[in-house]
Amino acid sequence: MSCCLSPQEQMLQNQIEGRENKHRSEAGHVRAFKILDRVQTLTPKVDVERGKYFTESMRQTEGQALVLRWAKAMKNVAEKISVYIDDDQLLVGRAGSQGRYGILYPELDGDFLDLAIQELDKREVSPFVIDPSDAKVIMEEIAPYWKGKTFHEDLAVALPEDTLKLTYYPDNVLLSRFIVNETASFRSSLQWVLDFEKVLKRGFKGLKEEAQEKLAALDPYSPVGNCEKRPFLEAVVTVCDAVTIWANRHAALAAEMAAKETDPVRKQELARIAETCAWVPENPARNFYEAMQSQWFVQMFSRIEQKTGTIISNGRMDQYMYPFYKADIEAGVLTEDEAIELFECMWVGMAQFIDLYISPTGGAFNEGYAHWEAVTVGGQTRDGRDATNDLTYLLLRSKREFPLHYPDLAARIHARAPKRYLWEVAETIKEGSGFPKLINDEEIIPLHLSKGATFEEINDYAVSGCAEIRMPNRDTYTSCCAYINYAAALEMALYNGRMLKYGDELIGLETGDPMKFTDWEQFWNAYLAQQLNFIKHAFIQQHNIIRLRAEHFAMPMGSAMHDLCMKNCVDIHTPQIEGGINLGYFECIGYGTVIDSLAAIKKLVFEEKKVGMGELIEALRTNFEGKEDLRALLRNSPCYGNNDSYPDTIAHAIDKASLEFTKKYSQELGVHLDLRYVPFTSHVPFGRVVSATPNGRLAWTALSDGSSASHGADINGPTAILLSNYASKNYDYRERAARLLNVKFTPHCVEGDEGTAKLVSFIKTWCDLKLWHIQFNIINKETLLAAQREPDKYRNLIVRIAGYSAYFCDLSKDLQDDLIARTGHDTM
């Protein structure tokens, strides 16, 4: 699955393909298919209970330490929220009503929740339904309390005027301008991974005891001890109780249902659920089933605790689950199919929780019910050996056999990854949905060593969210970061600090009238000034965000599971935690768009003088109306993604200028605020504010995504895409963060064992090149049909026939049809 395609779209595509699944009737999968069939077509519902009981408690605890208030609110929710046990499910624990559902986080959006909620079912993308009586609860109980209390209200007031106008519409701070966009106000935390293993091994009882011991050991005269550490430790005790209470309520319900159940098989299952929930997560897990249930309670409760960007990730499941799996398999009390069944019970549970975004900006960033609850497989052990085990293969198998886009699966790749692992990863990718995405140890490990990690910490990293990584006990930075529209910087260089979308208003810098520029250097400097101005304001935003977030958000359970929080007795949202590494980022949106535009200007305007600057700007203003020939000329000039040093040199320089800035100013923030290229779906809304660009892109259309080439601009095949990516990176800087890279293949390209072998060697080369991330789209029939309808977007789609190859869009209609028919056979 691509980060940049909506999962919903992918699901629809699979249905159109009619990929009837032979695995439906197999022992390991029957149960999960049964549950999935029941829920997958339901429109998500808004469940208000979390928002209601959270607010109820927060109303009563004003004036106390925030982390303690949060823990008390969690306890209130745990005691009162409805608990459910779904038919056929073996794992229990939901944050809301049955079917697909989303829950409310009024601490983020309570002040406008009453207005927004009325629009939810009318949304074109990601609609939700809400019960009228629940809407009433929002209007009367939840929203009124939060007015004037939310983070985003404080932030809007705190931002300096120059920063504000790049961030929001000055007259409506709920609406982003998508220029220097902050993302901290629509989620409480960056994407995050918890140390699940800690709970599996020690239970919340163990964490609670640790907090109690620390409480007993506090210096009774210390003001910090009394005012900061004590409330934190009390919060840990309270939240450990909260999770236990919640689990026990499930145990009680299961026991009650078991008593009434007439089907002997289900009766037994319910009895086991009751027994399990009475034991975990309070106590250490004793077997695989308990470990799975314990993990599930933790991840669901973490979703109740706060809205983490792109949902809490699952960490290295093949590692921390393995000892339980191995022991049970060896004892003969668990089969592979039973393990698969439990995993898939978890996947269908995940699929029912929908990350509900209320704010319009949040919605635009996460079109189509986005979710990235990454499960990491493979990689290395803490002492640097290959970490692959039987569970790694089981998780890959589940992804191949159970056609669900949950969970997001991430495979770590390193230089010594075993052949079987690479082979199975490639085979899984070939299934067609693009899972797993790949993350490169050879880039990540040395880079994070240079940022201060130890070998054992970084060897044990987990993939988190879209393409990021976390060291669950070392990472301490939770402030969500700025998304910068580099294409808007380019537009401002063309229009002297203004954008067509926003009329005459001066938003950026006045860098001069480009018509008066006599050489390329002048234009480049104007662009660079705009780019640096954006980064400057992103850092100003972040400075305010870091300061304000700690006053608004707390994460007691997450903190209880973090070594450094427990050691220092502080909540994870505290701006600086001793011993932590603060890994943040700022995001470059529209990289390919800007590179190609600058290359076209450099070559056609200044070097070859084939196009006048006036002629160019006139054509851009009118969105190339009547200037199709000029547009074609621009589109055919050198583009990033082709291993062509002309655009790649510009790419390298843009990257470098950004890195230089953060190298200089990141320290002031106490954060590695590093350059990242991972857009979610945001390159679409960011494109909506940018008029036509000199690479021939039409006004208001999507920008290029991540570090990928502009749509259809990479016409030299996949090796050139990797090499351009490599060429544009500055390996002499440590200020780089994740780069997302999408690569498309036709099924024919990877057909059969030979195709798998070649995909494996492609992946190994990607690993050699130390690129951060890659994901593959194996293009099928549906895409070829789309290419027929919109050839402009698919200019680079190569179709192979032995001894001959062609660009799909160069073929005539009937030959395309011929090929579509053939590719239908190829579809994997």
Partner: protein, 344 residues
Amino acid sequence: MAPAAPQAFRPRPAVAAGAFDTRNRLHKEKTLPTLPDTKQKGLVFNIQKYSVHDGPGIRTIIFLKGCSLRCDWCSNPESQALHRQLAYNPQKCLGVDACKRCLDVCPHKAISVGEDRKVVVDFTRCDNCLQCAEACPADALNVYGYEVSVEQALARVEEDDIFYSRSGGGLTLSGGEPLYQSEFALALLREARKRRINTCIETCGNVPWEVLKEAGRYLDSVFYDVKSADSARHARVTGTGNERILENLRKLREAYPGLAITVRTPVIPGVNDDEASIGAIADFVCTLPGATYELLAYHRMGTPKYGYIGRTYPLEGVGNLPEGRIEELRAVAKARAECCQAAN
């Protein structure tokens, strides 16, 4: 040995005599001073990265212009002529309401406006001056063929070196008949070998033995086309008999026992899609120790390119092989191979 003279071919649409200097053909008298390999120049029409179907691993294919056969089913018609030539893809034309650049520059009035407001090229008037292609912003008017040196071509090939290391891939020469520009092709192969690049060639075998013999010294693997074991039929559909092709193949096997040879037959409806034809070729392959044999199913994917260069497709109206036919013929070939292995 005499080169395959163009006159020996069946009449085909005339192609203008080349502006390209053919001095670097081995069989021509060496009246000019010999250049170092890296400086040798040749005419190619494509350098294609990430080829995964033509030889081991991830490869780069250099497509050379020029061919000594004229197969009816040729899927690279732009490869046949040994000169740069104009191509026109109307699907990419912006239409004269948006752009008239080509109309303005053509000195021969070879370009006019069609009913759909896109341009039409009269190839009988065109002398491949290529000014229109230079002017076209949309790449609708394009050129097949450009001159590169061995140095330049191998620089492109070596860009993907890191992919070859991992996959066991390398360079494949294709065409056209890559050995038609023999001196250039041999210089490419020699230099590639020197640079430790894995080398492969796709050849029709219809070249002087000396050329093939020399090439074999620098090759790791060969795809060798045999279209028909019947010389008369071979001549009817390719313009040339098969004697030299079969003879060369036999000699190649003898001269280079370690060379990986894959014999390929494009299975063309009405030409060789019968069991007897395939069986006969398979029997011949059996006489070549270690050679493997594979069948490629006929496809029409090259058809548009005939239009682009102003030609009509010789096999217009011929459909694909019936479903399952290629598998049946593969079974025939396999049975023959097993039979002859048993006999040996």
